[in-house]
Amino acid sequence: MSSYFFLEDNSVETTVKKYLKKIDENSHLNAFITVAENYALEQAKIVDEKIKNRTAGKLAGLVISLKDLICTKGIRTTAGSKILENFIPPYDASLVKNLKNEDAVIIGKNNLDEFAMGSSNETSAFGKVLHPLDNSLVPGGSSGGSAVSVAAGLSRVSLGSETGGSIRQPAAFCGVVGLKTTYGRVSRYGVTAFASSFDQVGPIGKTVEDVARVTEVISGFDKMDSTSAPNSVPDYTQFLNQDVKGLKMGVLKECFDEGVDPEIKKSVLETIELLRKNGAEIKEVSLPLLKYGIATYYILTTAEASANLARYDGIRYTYRNGEAKGLDEVYVKSRSEGFGTEVKRRIMLGTYVLSAGYYDAFYAKGQKVRTLMQKEMNETFAGLDCILAPTTPNLPFKAGEKLDDPLKMYLNDIFTVSANLTGIPSLSVPCGNAKNGLPIGIQIMAKSFDEGMTFRVGDFIEKNIKILA
């Protein structure tokens, strides 16, 4: 029985009941939109049977939750939006099939910013998610429910998704580990699209090992996703429990300028010092184009989103205003009522940047900058194993503080978006605490498909730094 890494109790059923109880006790955090209680208990029994017969998969014992934009057959999937409040997918996302094949038990669907648009998990139609350490603070977003779920022990691992920092930022805010996978590493089939050329699913867990083991199962080519990569998937546990001697690490200069919280700066620099003392070669690197990151990100992602969200039109499976008369009114009323403010703001932005007469000035230019940033990133990585930077410029902030100031909110992603624009993997791990106890995260960026390197360095940090529980 001990050969199953994720097994926590004598039976999976016991584990599921334990998590269900925790979910119930912490319902005020609002980390779940749907708890699949019956489904999880049924599955647990099946997995227990398989364990008895020694036919269970790698993830037997794992109780996992999913950001509620990952489609689950028979379990409601809302993307945090009223427009999908009653949608039950008739299909599983490809990565969900992978999880099921390896006998993970899905316990429920985590809250998120509506359509993953937000950095504070305040835009969900199902209410905001609270920070587990201080309920007046935001947990980060958009995968806020996922990070809280793991931090508060409501599930062992949760799958989040990133378009621009949406796994790493809440992971850093909540003091857990979160991986943004290489673009193309994990199939997007069945993952509700925000911006297709950015979106990637990745795990959030308490430890690097949990994240590494789940990453391995959800990764790989999928014929249902033309953009998924054919690269083979290594056994990621081989990167754990290694030293960092001789590793060449870049430290991203731009992330230590003014505007970064001094406590974050201090903690991250101390972590880098620890790595240096253990034999890592540290050098300062610069990404001058980073200053265009947020602007480029918002032009390109909103453009793609404006098209991706056009399918929620009130015609087939989405919310429809019952009183609407005629086609135009069905569209206008259903979409006006079904979408929240932030989503509508981004659809309008995206529609604008793609419009005739503006396309070249915005979208086409944005694509050019993105290409340049990818080139710059490749050049910067020459001779390096990884690049280090703080995950966020600031500590978790008060709920409501930035909701009415989109620009301020968007700047939260300033350190994370470069990985999204360039497609590379990046792992956020806790590296310290502020004086008030709030967690601080450091991110380890690596070359495309070198998730293993982020695990190696992250695992080392995790095992050599003292962090408050």
Partner: protein, 476 residues
């Protein structure tokens, strides 16, 4: 002042691939509504398109057949607009980098053949169908079986000079796509849909006039009628001092007029941008060569070969190569009959007649090439005459019996014995003294009458040539 029309055509060619362009759903026509759908073509969340390679094969075929440049890298784009039968809110299409460009299509005109330039041919997906019929009270029915079916949109250069050329272009394209086996080419059922851009300008003027787009012409006849109407209307308007507006019109076949639908000002901004869910389409030489190997002989090549190798007239060659199936049937029969002219006559006469009468396809009739070849061999060996050949053909078409068996069973074997024939002739002369008298007095047209009488006596078995010869000997 004289005006000349300038016409460009946009044709949507619905590809008969087994499955849709970006998902595995069947494309079978006429199934129950919404039974050929899946999360991908229904535009459900997270569902992603994956390009069907057969679509690319079909596009390459048309590219080779129209001498188009085949792009080594082409890009899919999203064309954004809202309509209930468009599930994703955008149509996957190709915009600035289509798979095919700069081709040409040869058409037959009154003044000989003419090559019409093809600007571009691109891949896109079809929409579903809205049903506004009375079945749906205060609502509209939506059927997504067609949604996601592959189309090729082919845009011609504005090089078509009149309605006859336009219909010749459509006819030539229809023949081509049927030959290539990529489309049914059925205008009435919409597997080929055609829009025309029409403008007129004073003869000698270089600048194009304002163009009007005409849609909804679902037959060759309607293409001609709509274009003729629109040209006449535009010239009339200009002569009356009215400015031509850039509009899109619908052809109303019942009233025989074009009706403006929307003007350029309120036309949509489709906000095209590269489809991020699909990777660029890369086509290398190998792929093109592989497809080229599967390419059938094209209609014009076949027509020329029939003329040259079989010494058939241009007209006969055209008729026999009009469809690949007929051409194949003809050539297959020729293997048995070895007589191109006689074979051509029977195929264009009897076979085409039977096809029309029975509404069967040529590969469905009971007169197989082998059996028709046998009939032709009997004819050539003078075992039967033309009349008997037709009788046997009809019998074989009905029963599928072997021709020789039919010949024997019906006693249709040609009589070449001159004694027997002389007997019949004597009898006819004796029975028709008046006609004999008139014939001798110069009414030569009565020869046919005598022939007929003798044939009747012989029950069709007499050899007409020998009868004619005998007749002349006896009566002169």
């Amino acid at each position: 002042m004289d005006y000349e029309p300038i016409i460009g055509l946009e044709v949507h060619i619905q590809l008969k691939t087994k499955t849709k362009a970006f998902c595995g759903c069947s494309t079978t026509y006429g199934s129950e509504e919404n039974t050929q759908t899946c999360p991908v073509c229904l535009g459900m969340l997270g569902a992603l398109p994956v390009l069907n390679e057969e679509v690319v094969n079909f596009a390459i075929k048309l590219g080779l057949a129209t001498e188009s440049e085949i792009a080594s890298k082409s890009i899919f784009s999203r064309k954004n607009y809202f309509y209930p039968d468009l599930t994703k809110g955008y149509q996957i299409s190709q915009y600035d980098k289509p798979i095919l460009e700069n081709g040409k299509l040869e058409i037959e005109t009154e003044n000989g053949s003419k090559k019409i330039g093809i600007t571009r041919i691109h891949i896109e997906e079809d929409t579903g169908k809205s049903n506004h019929s009375e079945t749906f009270v205060n609502s509209t029915g939506l059927d997504f079986n067609r949604c996601g079916t592959a189309l090729l949109e082919m845009v011609s250069e504005p090089e078509i000079s009149n309605s006859k050329e336009a219909s010749a272009y459509i006819a030539a394209l229809r023949q081509l796509v049927r030959y290539l086996g990529i489309c049914d080419g059925n205008l009435e059922e919409g597997s080929m849909r055609c829009d025309a851009n029409i403008s007129v300008r004073p003869v000698g003027q270089e600048k194009f006039g304002t163009k009007v787009e005409v849609k909804n012409m679902n037959s060759l006849r309607n293409v001609e009628k709509a274009i003729d109407y629109e040209i006449k209307r535009q010239i009339q308007d200009i002569k009356n001092g009215k400015e031509i507006q850039q509009v899109t019109c619908l052809w109303n076949a019942e009233k025989g007029i074009t009706i403006p639908m929307r003007s350029k000002e309120d036309s949509d901004d489709y906000r095209y941008f590269p489809e991020p869910d699909l990777v660029p389409l890369l086509v290398n030489e190998n792929w093109i060569n592989e497809v080229e190997r599967t390419l059938p002989e094209l209609p014009s090549a076949k027509r020329n070969r029939f003329q040259k190798d079989f010494k058939l007239s241009a007209y006969d060659s055209g008729v026999l190569s009009a469809s690949k199936e007929i051409a194949d049937y003809f050539e297959e029969t020729l293997k048995f009959s070895k007589d191109p002219k006689q074979t051509a006559n029977l195929v264009m006469g009897e076979v085409m007649r039977i096809l029309k009468e029975t509404k069967l396809e040529v590969n469905e009739i009971k007169v197989t090439p082998e059996k028709l070849g046998e009939i032709l061999t009997l004819l050539k060996g003078k075992k039967i005459n033309q009349q008997a050949a037709k009788t046997i053909f009809d019998e074989v078409a009905e029963t599928g019996e072997k021709p020789e068996k039919v010949m024997k069973a019906k006693g249709l074997e040609q009589v070449l014995d001159s004694n027997e024939m002389e007997t019949w002739l004597e009898e006819v002369i004796a029975e028709n003294p008046n006609e004999v008298e008139r014939f001798k007095n110069g009414e030569r047209q009565l020869q046919g009458f005598f022939m007929g009488q003798i044939m009747k006596k012989s029950r069709g078995k007499a050899n007409p040539g020998m009868v004619a010869k005998l007749l002349n000997q006896k009566l002169n």
